[in-house]
């Protein structure tokens, strides 16, 4: 049995230590907002935050999480930045099929948390690991800039 902190709650999971966090979230905890896309950290659909750092959960053994806090798409809206990004995603009507967008939003939220006003090169660097097969990239870029411009007072 392992204890991990997911979205602010301590969860006890019966999982082997080498099991990727992705499958723990999806198949054991039941948080299916984090998506499986490639299994080899090529597409970014499985991006979650571990102590605020965006990681590909398909490559993160659950045994290596330790006492760090895992945040998923289901709870990123509880952070000011995540909420702002989700709003911008809707305002800019970014989403098509939506399958990659959990990962896109997690990557964008981490980007803005560390860099409040990213330029195009910053966005490319932070987001190039997230594939969108529907091709929403133009709007993703716009939405990140829009979210950056709308910092809410604390």
């Amino acid at each position: 049995m392992l204890e991990i902190v997911i979205n602010g709650s301590i969860r006890t999971v019966d999982a082997p230590e080498d099991m990727p966090l992705l499958w723990v979230l999806r198949d054991i905890v039941g948080l299916t907002g984090t998506k499986f896309g490639c299994g080899i950290a090529q597409c970014g659909a499985c991006t979650v935050h571990v102590d605020g750092v965006p990681l590909r959960s398909c490559q993160m053994p659950v045994g290596a999480v330790g006492n760090r806090a895992v945040t998923t798409i289901e709870a990123i809206g509880e952070t000011e930045v995540g909420r702002r990004v989700q709003r911008a995603w809707l305002d800019r009507e970014v989403v098509q099929c939506g399958y990659c967008q959990s990962g896109q939003i997690m990557s964008a939220s981490a980007l803005l948390a560390g860099n409040p006003s990213p330029d195009d090169a910053d966005i490319d660097a932070a987001m190039a690991g997230n594939i969108c097969r529907c091709g929403t990239y133009v709007r993703i870029r716009d939405a990140i800039k829009s979210a950056a411009a709308k910092v809410e007072p604390a």
């Binding site: 798409i73 098509q96 490319d124 660097a125 594939i131 091709g135």
Partner: protein
């Protein structure tokens, strides 16, 4: 928005969704106020008064709309709801949408004759039927109010889900009328709104499906969770057409969480408590495969077979004038174009959840073809289709892949051997290896030029017939209507035209529809050939085309608009890092729509191509939702960009060479050009837009490379080495 799954199972699914919810579920309710937030109640969707196949109204005034086409990102749920709501005279705020069950009679696509979402047909096929359904329901509601108040229906008006009798100041809502309205018989041809009276159609209304998608709440097929469900993953024969010789299960069965190994003649699946156990179990298995007859098959063999077939007999799909008689003497051009296999690589890998019980089978899947999914499950389970319940889901990218039901067949074949519900998930590697690919195509084009115009045109298309397998009724007299689409009805007024189709099924590599379908290949060949001729004669590619579409005002309008907005003819500056720059144009008349695309590229010394800007002018006739239209053109462009720059599936020693996104590259954000989409506004009947952007960007880019370098590439994808060598 709540998307209800049909019938009894929605209860179970919704309970599961509730279990998944955690913080985000509740959070979402307050977060996106003002955006269409449909009821999140867990009522079974079949409550309410059914006014027709598409509309049910509940006493609380919420309206359930049953969606005949599926949502895979193209915005169909929102645009179809807009069509219904427009004539029903309601807003979208209280709308709950529901996936249609398999039902050919009520939900068959009027353009295709089956319950299919594809071919960019949703808007053009459903625009009238759904508006009529909305108008009929409104007629019934108005009739119920008129009876109740003893007044003439003509004295009533509707707005926002309420019926008003202004003379008496009375009003009542649809929810209160629906029960009585259900007994009123509406006319089959109800009066429709004048387009100038539209309140919803033509506006960029917010999508209904997106609020759930940004909080991770949407349940795609792969997210289905059922009590007692196990998860399986599978390996198919590494050599196409191979079979299982022997499996040593011991190493798999000792992996913690592995429950069972299922051995079929052509694949092996491991069943576990979770995907990780199934995956580890599969890796631990020792499988001996029989290679079968294709172990020596290579890509060069496949190209050679195609080339040989292209010289054999074909059937004439179109013949106007005497093309062959004119294709003699000087100024006759001939070029062959070759297009590769392409994978769909939708981001949601193939998956299907199945529960087989004695005499019944339930499946949970995201499919573009409800009826075919039901039939496939029935055949694989040895049941009658009436014994199969299909629960459709949001699709994490279709692009044609979910027009196929092989994943349903294979999931049921596996699940038959397993007690209880089973979710079968394809790894990305298996999703690519087991794709049904966009076919290899060979396109031979010949043209005669006289007085600066093309006067004779010959287009010989060699490729498989997907329709012969998939929609046999559309394969007539040896002609595949899709394979020749946009070749037999080009926008150009060539006096002599010959179009031929040579059916050639490449061995063992399965093929299927891919975003852009037939026009993808045909428009590519034609538009590249036209540029070759323009270049040879020193003619401007836009002016050359323009002179040949005198009788096609809609084609001219998009061509002119794309040229104007792209700055066609103005000098193009190389970026600071250097390279040769060029512009290319392509024109499309297909899917009921007209598009012209201008691409700007920069080609580096090593031949690598960077696409700088893509400007597309679009005429789809009446526009239902401009924002969605723009999104489809943007997305379609990105899809085509990936194909022309990177897309290629190859076979060596009988094996598909590509495995994942590392070696089957798709577009990423850091290679995105500037995208511009401009609309031509008119009142023509709506055309399709899911695919055209994918089609036009490919020849536009290749033509731009040609303009920049003088190298005309004829086999896709773009090969930087060929450009660097200066020869195609």
């Amino acid at each position: 928005m709540t998307v209800h799954r049909s019938a009894a199972v929605s209860r179970r699914s919704l309970l599961q969704a509730g279990a998944v919810a955690g913080g985000g579920f509740l959070l979402g309710v307050g977060l996106f106020e003002g955006i269409a937030q449909a009821a999140t109640s867990d009522e079974i969707a079949t409550t309410g008064s059914k006014l027709n196949a598409f509309i049910r109204i509940l006493p609380d005034d919420s309206v359930t709309m049953i969606m005949p086409a599926v949502e895979m990102g193209q915005g169909a749920y929102t645009s179809m709801a807009m069509m219904l709501a427009e004539e029903l005279d309601i807003g979208l705020a209280d709308v709950v949408v529901e996936h249609a069950p398999p039902d050919q009679k009520d939900y068959g696509n009027p353009a295709l004759g089956e319950q299919i979402t594809g071919g960019s047909t949703t808007t053009l096929a459903w625009f009238l039927p759904l508006r009529k359904a909305g108008a009929r329901a409104r007629f019934m509601l108005v009739g119920a109010a008129a009876r109740q108040w003893g007044v003439e229906p003509a004295t009533l008006r509707t707005e926002g889900g309420t019926v008003f009798h202004d003379a008496s100041g009375r009003s009542t809502t649809y929810g209160k009328l629906a029960d009585h309205a259900a007994s009123i018989v509406p006319p089959s041809e109800p009066t429709l709104k004048d387009p100038h009276a539209y309140r919803l159609i033509g506006r960029s209304l917010r999508r209904l499906d997106t609020p759930d998608k940004v909080i991770g709440k949407t349940v795609y097929g792969i997210d289905v969770r059922l009590p007692g469900m196990k998860i399986a993953t599978l390996a198919s024969a590494p050599i196409l057409g191979g079979t299982v010789a022997h499996v040593d299960q011991r190493a798999a069965l000792v992996v913690p969480g592995v429950r069972q190994v299922v051995v079929l003649d052509d694949m092996v699946a491991v069943v576990g408590d979770h995907m990780w156990a199934a995956k580890k179990g599969l890796e631990a298995l020792e499988i001996d495969w029989n290679p079968g007859p294709n172990a020596a098959l290579g890509q060069n063999d496949l190209w050679a077979m195609l080339d040989t077939a292209s010289r054999g007999p074909g059937v004439t799909a179109k013949s106007v004038g005497d093309a062959d008689g004119h294709l003699v003497g000087d100024d006759v051009f001939e070029t062959d174009f070759e297009l590769p296999y392409l994978a769909h690589a939708a981001l949601e890998p193939l998956n299907c959840t199945v529960h087989v019980t004695p005499g019944a089978c339930e499946i949970w899947v995201g499919t573009q073809v409800m009826g075919k999914a039901q039939t496939a499950a029935a055949e694989a389970a040895g049941l009658d289709p009436s014994q199969v319940v299909v629960h459709n889901h949001m699709i994490g990218g279709g692009f044609g892949r979910r027009l196929e039901v092989d994943c349903v067949t294979n999931a049921v074949r596996i699940a038959r051997h397993v007690d209880g519900p089973l979710k079968v998930i394809w790894t990305r590697e298996e999703d690519i290896r087991q794709d049904r690919f966009r076919p290899l195509y060979h396109m031979r084009t010949r043209a005669k030029v006289e007085r600066g115009r093309i006067t004779a045109w010959h287009h010989r298309i060699t490729g498989p017939s997907i329709l012969a397998r998939w929609l046999p009724g559309a394969f007539q007299k040896g002609i595949d209507a899709d394979a020749v689409d946009a070749a037999v009805d080009m926008p150009y007024d060539f006096a002599n035209v010959q179009v031929e189709f040579v059916r050639h099924e490449t061995p063992v590599v399965p093929t299927a529809f891919w975003r852009g379908v037939g026009p993808n290949a045909n428009v590519f060949a034609a538009e590249c050939m036209i540029d070759k001729i323009a270049h040879h004669h020193g003619l401007d590619p836009v002016a050359f085309r323009r002179a040949m579409i005198q009788t096609k005002p809609r084609a001219r309008a998009v061509l002119d608009l794309a040229a104007a907005r792209s700055g066609w003819g103005s000098p193009l500056k190389a970026p600071p890092e250097g390279g040769r720059v060029g512009r290319g144009v392509a024109l499309l008349a297909a899917f009921g729509s007209f598009l012209a695309t201008v691409a700007e590229v920069c080609v580096a010394d090593d031949g690598s191509v960077q696409v700088l800007r893509v400007v597309t002018a679009v005429d789809v006739g009446q526009i239902v939702n401009p924002n969605t239209l723009q999104a489809q053109v943007q997305g379609g462009t990105v899809f085509g960009l990936a194909a022309v720059l990177h897309g290629e599936i190859t076979v060596e020693q009988g094996r598909i060479q590509q495995t994942n996104f590392n070696d089957y590259r798709v577009t990423r954000i850091d290679e995105m050009p500037i995208l511009e989409v401009h609309f031509v506004q008119n009142d023509e009947a709506p055309g399709g837009i899911g695919e055209p952007g994918t089609v036009t960007v490919q020849p536009a880019i290749v033509n731009a490379v040609f303009a920049a370098t003088g190298v005309q590439l004829t086999r896709m994808p773009i090969d930087a080495k060929k450009i660097a060598r200066g020869a195609a």
